[in-house]
Subunit: 392 residues, 2 copies
């Protein structure tokens, strides 16, 4: 096992009607002028925004609004948000949505505290030391961004997608009402569930042994999400299933499932980010389209991890060689992806790529991650090409 | 399931030699004049205190010291600590030890910010709004106080033991080096493991259904602690087992295992506190001496919880009636207590009580918890008497 630091200060307020406490929480964290930042989604089609405005009004906190966040949140909107916040004297950002909105809010929050361009943070040129605080009203269980130290932004001019991981960007509070996710359509629900499982799998299927208690929690999260994703296909308004997926989403990416581990592999995310950025693929679907090909490429290097994962998380019966069992675990994960309507190849996304396009995607992927990625195996551009190729 | 709030801001720094970072962490949290607060224990017999002093020296932070904390920490020492801190201008408390030292440090920290006597906090007369921050160097895995919102103090004049649960008393950082717990003797190690499991069991075996993912994490913690406690009997220096127990101890009581639950039952703790206070019994041993009698008294009221606990946490095979399986789970827990050398009755503690003494203990227990306790069943003085009696 590895030494670790763990700090998740986000205050979670979980349950029915919890969004009614926005004003009270914003006040608790010192908000005087709020930016309400949001995207689309059915949850917003209802009266959610009105209720949030009302809650802020009641707490005598003024606000401005900026909508228009789309999946794979855009740098141009972040810049627009920063300009608006400077003009209006905003000192607190409320993100109403899922990962894209939260990541965009984090980018605005950190961007407000630097002199340069916010993209410099994502290129690693500036390490942000402060942020305007961000609070979250979660309407999509997927990214875990509501408790995580992570934010991913796409430069819409160059289609480059980059992540930033810094402790200061963890939201100060996260309001989670599972009811708000009951209107998320099946495909987006499935993508979210895949993303949640993958946040644990990236940490679990990695190059080093970890703490048994951490592994066990990771196995639970994967099992719970698999079971609940299937329940939600049958009944999208199953409150218990929505609640379990929502909470699993936060725990999967707030650091808990990495305690004692080597930091995780993260190759699938890196490969997937490139696919998403170039072909505008939903994040969760990009992950499932590539994961099986990645897993088969590397599993022999960390056979023990894939073997335990197969038995403990995927419920594979322990008969056969360790290699056979590990492979059955990979197959079981892909079966789950298919069962909830997600692709297990790039072709199933409706995308046909030439060899040149695959080479270019691998080249960009290697460039954007600094040449090498992964802890199960250190992948270089050639490996990335092979994995993309196998996933066609 | 129930709505919940979850907030665990404690910064955990976990691993070998992590105590060398005390100075850096104290500085990060603004310490200028520190009280080093400690008790006994073999970890302190070595060079630990010297290394901590050196780390603070290096960070140019001055300090005073107050040792002498004993199990079931005493109000008189808390008062002494407050007077010392006022005199010396202390603005940060470093607790070096286990739950008793941390709880004593929390009491001093909160006591410094009120006008009245610190006991008023524990009697519920004053709700503390602020505290001098507390950082922890953990040397005993048991109480979970290093991340919890809880502190328990005993008035050494009246032998009354009382707990206080407020968010402000969560430590700002917790340095956890499993090596520091390798010298903890077998009986104290066993008591610690029992306490850790019990913090989850008090939340799990309660009156309401919770989140599946929360239950699963609770089951993991209990299973992990049982397995590791047995490894530690054979090899007290098993680092992985010490690390798992240490981290399980924090997760078991920081709120995670209660998310979505009804707040827990806590009868065993309440009954045990009285036994500890009157007869100076180690906390963990008081819990195991009483738990089985409590469990048999209430299990039919929440049969589903005891049934699932038996199968998922205790590994009981699901054959027989639900009631039989639940009872087997209770027996399995008691077998574990005995296997690690802990009592399953008051008699095994070497204490013989008259009926009058049992009545008096029940009377005090009921008085101190306001007359009623528990969520599996609402226990009154008569029930407490019956449970103590069954545990003789």
């Amino acid at each position: 096992m590895f030494d670790f630091t763990y700090c998740t200060p986000t205050k979670v307020v979980f349950g029915k009607n919890s969004e009614g406490r926005l004003g009270e929480l914003a006040k608790e964290f010192g908000a005087k002028k709020v930016l309400i930042h949001y995207g689309g989604g059915k949850a917003l089609g209802g009266e959610l925004l009105s209720r949030l405005r009302w809650s802020l009004d009641e707490a005598e906190i003024s606000y401005v609004e900026l909508g228009g966040v789309k999946p794979n949140p855009r740098l141009s909107l972040v810049r627009e948000g920063i300009a608006l916040c400077r003009k209006e004297g905003v000192d607190f950002i409320v993100a109403v949505g899922g990962g894209s909105v939260i990541d965009s809010a984090k980018a605005i929050g950190m961007g407000l505290k630097i002199d340069g361009d916010p993209w410099d943070i994502y290129c690693g040129k500036i390490k942000p030391q402060k942020t305007v605080p961000v609070g979250v009203i979660l309407t999509l269980a997927a990214s875990g961004s509501e408790m995580s130290n992570s934010s991913v932004i796409t430069d819409d001019e160059t289609q480059v997608k980059r992540g930033c991981n810094v402790e200061i960007c963890r939201p100060v509070f996260a309001i989670m009402n599972p009811v708000l996710t009951c209107t998320v359509p099946p495909y987006a629900t499935a993508c979210g569930c895949a993303d949640i499982a993958m946040h644990t799998m990236e940490r679990y299927l990695s190059g080093g042994e970890t703490l048994r208690v951490t592994d066990a929690i990771g196995e639970d999260i994967v099992r719970t999400v698999i079971a609940c994703s299937k329940r939600l296909l049958k009944n999208p308004e199953d409150y218990e299933a929505r609640a379990n997926v929502m909470w699993a989403g936060s725990l999967s990416h707030n650091g808990l499932t990495g305690c004692g581990g080597d930091g995780g592999d993260w190759s699938t995310h890196t490969l997937g980010h490139e696919l998403s950025a170039l072909y505008d693929v939903a994040h969760g679907a990009a992950l499932t389209a590539l994961w099986g090909s990645w897993a088969r490429y590397v599993y022999k290097d960390v056979l023990g991890r894939f073997y335990t994962f197969a038995i403990q998380a995927m419920g594979v019966r322990p008969s056969g060689t360790r290699e056979e069992i590990a492979l059955k675990g990979i197959e079981a994960a892909e079966e789950w992806f298919r069962a909830i309507g997600l692709p297990t190849s790039i072709g199933e996304l409706g995308i046909t790529l030439t060899d040149e396009q695959v080479k270019e995607m691998a080249r960009r992927c290697a460039e954007h991650c600094g040449g090498v990625k992964g802890s199960c195996r250190r992948l270089k551009e050639r490996d990335m090409y092979e994995i993309y190729k196998a996933a066609l």
